[in-house]
């Protein structure tokens, strides 16, 4: 366990030893700020029929952060170690493949979680001024945080997988972005599909991240969505492990 902790700490320290982590945080802070302004002007002093958390998800800032920033967080995880060669000393230390994969995933996820702390501050500000629990109840806030974390799990595991495939960080970022965007836009078909019931529309509805997040933002924990996120995360971690392991049977 202490080995795992050392690995996670190393992952996190890599973000903060250089400017990388701070630049990402600054960019996200900017986007959250913009989203917050849009939400505030949307409220415009009037009561809304839907919770504020839901309004935030319907702005594109949330998705912009997820799609753009997630691959940047994960791009260095494996690719940089491979490029610099430290991968070799890491993988010949008495450390298991799963420990390496999970620690890289955990490091990225913790950093991702840190990114959303300013949003919490924004919510507290809104709550303080609005004072109406109907607008920003504790329930929707908690379930929204859970939703953010779950979608983060999925995107971090996907990014780790992309990074494990290459030794070039730019390639890792672009392929991670492509996978994330593909998943996101597949879900978009559900809007065009309407209430058609052919298999494509059903699939689109099932993988629609926006639909899944909407239920979280309304304060509902949709078990189907939880299973959807966790199973895909497990799948990508499994694939990452296979890639890491592949050096031993290539």
């Amino acid at each position: 366990m202490s080995v795992f902790r050392a690995l996670v700490r190393r992952e996190l320290s890599a973000f903060f030893q250089g400017p990388t982590g701070f630049i990402i945080i600054a960019a996200v802070l900017f986007l959250i700020g913009l989203g917050f302004v849009v939400v505030l002007s949307g409220l415009n002093g009037q009561a809304t029929p839907i919770p504020v958390t839901q309004v935030f998800y319907s702005t594109y800032f949330f998705w912009l952060i997820l799609l753009l920033i997630a691959p940047i967080i994960t791009m260095r995880s494996f690719a940089m170690e491979r490029a610099s060669g430290t991968y070799e000393s890491l993988m010949t230390a008495p450390v298991g493949d799963w420990q390496v994969v999970l620690s890289k995933f955990a490091g990225a996820l913790i950093f991702y979680a840190i990114l959303w702390v300013p949003l919490l501050v924004c919510s507290v500000v809104v709550r303080f001024y609005v004072g109406e629990s109907a607008v920003l109840g504790l329930g929707p806030m908690v379930t929204s945080a859970l939703g953010i974390l779950l979608v983060g799990c999925l995107y971090m595991s996907m990014g780790c997988f992309a990074s494990a495939l290459t030794r070039n960080q730019a390639v890792a970022a672009v392929s991670g972005f492509a996978m994330g965007a593909a998943l996101f836009f597949t879900g978009f078909f559900s809007y065009f599909a309407g209430d058609r019931s052919d298999w494509i529309s059903q699939l689109a509805r099932h993988v629609s991240l926006a639909n899944h997040m909407e239920s979280f933002s309304r304060g509902v924990i949709d078990l189907g969505a939880v299973i959807f996120f966790l199973s895909l995360t497990a799948l990508f971690l499994y694939l990452t492990h296979k890639v890491v392991e592949s050096r031993r049977w290539k």
């Binding site: 050392a6 030893q17 000393s89 890491l90 010949t92 008495p94 031993r248 290539k250």
Partner: protein, 311 residues
């Protein structure tokens, strides 16, 4: 300590290692010798469980590297080729991180880190970022990491590459100190390097094992060249060299009326006396007569010749 049998590694069509077998006993210092691309690093990567072999078996301390990689990793201290290190960590922090990965008990680890830093001469740069260290210091940080867990087997891939002569000497001294208490495997493409540090060599060439054994015994098989510089005309010297019948000779004029004559095929018997006597007979003055130790190339030539039946 190490048992390698019929080790073969293919990268697609390219055969990097072809049926290599050798063994290394406990406490031995063994040199891995071969030109670039001979398969030294590949062998080391397989030994240290980083890569798997295409076929063949490798055991380190009785454990198979493929079936029991974790047991093997606990036994080895490895410094990969080019000594890759994270540049964003301080030297001391890096060693602390490595000590945690190698499961050094927390209480002992601080002492042990201080000990290896002292041993490798990096104590004074512990607080500096690895990215800002000179190549010599980095190399020693890598060495310190390899020694950290007091491994039974230390594997160093080109430990002196890119160091200046003073640093090379201190690394050599360190390796000699390790002999006896550790089994050490070092790779190099420089013959003199291995000569000074190792008891035994394993010679690889194009993925095949050329020879393994004590270096002296191997060198005796190689032909040492003898060089003589005589004061005579070039044509006379060429004629003289041919008459001496000491094998192929290259003659070249030198300033000052001397001719330098290199007898490449001087067999293991020393021919210097014969050359001296002959030059004396001609009344030529002789200003140099020396036997040149065989180079790695000479050794390869003689070894490949032995193997392929005079090709």
């Amino acid at each position: 300590m190490i048992e390698v049998q019929n080790l073969t590694k293919r990268y697609g069509q390219h055969v990097a290692l072809d049926g290599v077998s050798f063994s290394v006993g406990c406490g031995e210092v063994v040199g891995f010798l071969g030109p670039n691309g001979a398969g030294k690093s590949t062998t080391m990567r397989i030994l240290t469980t980083f890569m798997a072999a295409t076929s063949g078996s490798v055991r380190v301390g009785g454990d198979c590297v493929f079936e029991n990689p974790m047991r093997v990793r606990e036994r080895i201290g490895y410094m990969p080729e080019n000594n890759p290190l994270p540049t964003d960590l301080r030297a001391g922090d890096y060693l602390k991180f490595r000590a945690q990965l190698k499961r050094l008990a927390n209480g002992d680890s601080a002492n042990r880190i201080a000990e290896v830093m002292e041993q490798c001469g990096v104590a004074d740069v512990a607080g500096r970022f690895i990215g800002q260290l000179s190549r010599g210091y980095r190399q020693r940080v890598g060495l310190a990491d390899a020694l950290l867990a007091k491994p039974e087997l230390i594997v160093l891939d080109e430990p002196t590459a890119g160091l200046d002569p003073n640093q090379v000497r201190s690394v050599r001294r360190l390796i000699r100190e390790l002999a006896g208490s550790h089994t050490v495997l070092i790779s190099s493409h420089i013959l003199s390097e291995i000569e000074m540090t190792c008891d035994r060599v394993v010679i690889l060439h194009e993925g095949r094992l050329l020879a393994s054994g004590a270096l002296d015994a191997l060198m005796a098989k190689a032909n040492a060249a003898v060089v003589a510089e005589v004061r005579a005309s070039l044509t006379d010297t060429i004629e003289w060299a041919a008459k001496l019948a000491l094998g192929q000779a290259e003659c070249a004029e030198q300033p000052g009326g001397y001719v330098r004559c290199r007898f490449a095929d001087a067999k293991s018997a020393d021919t210097r006396e014969k050359i001296f006597a002959s030059a004396n007979e001609h009344g030529w003055s002789l200003r140099e007569l020396s036997r040149q130790a065989p180079s790695l190339e000479d050794l390869f030539v003689s070894l490949t010749r032995g193997k392929d039946g005079g090709k």
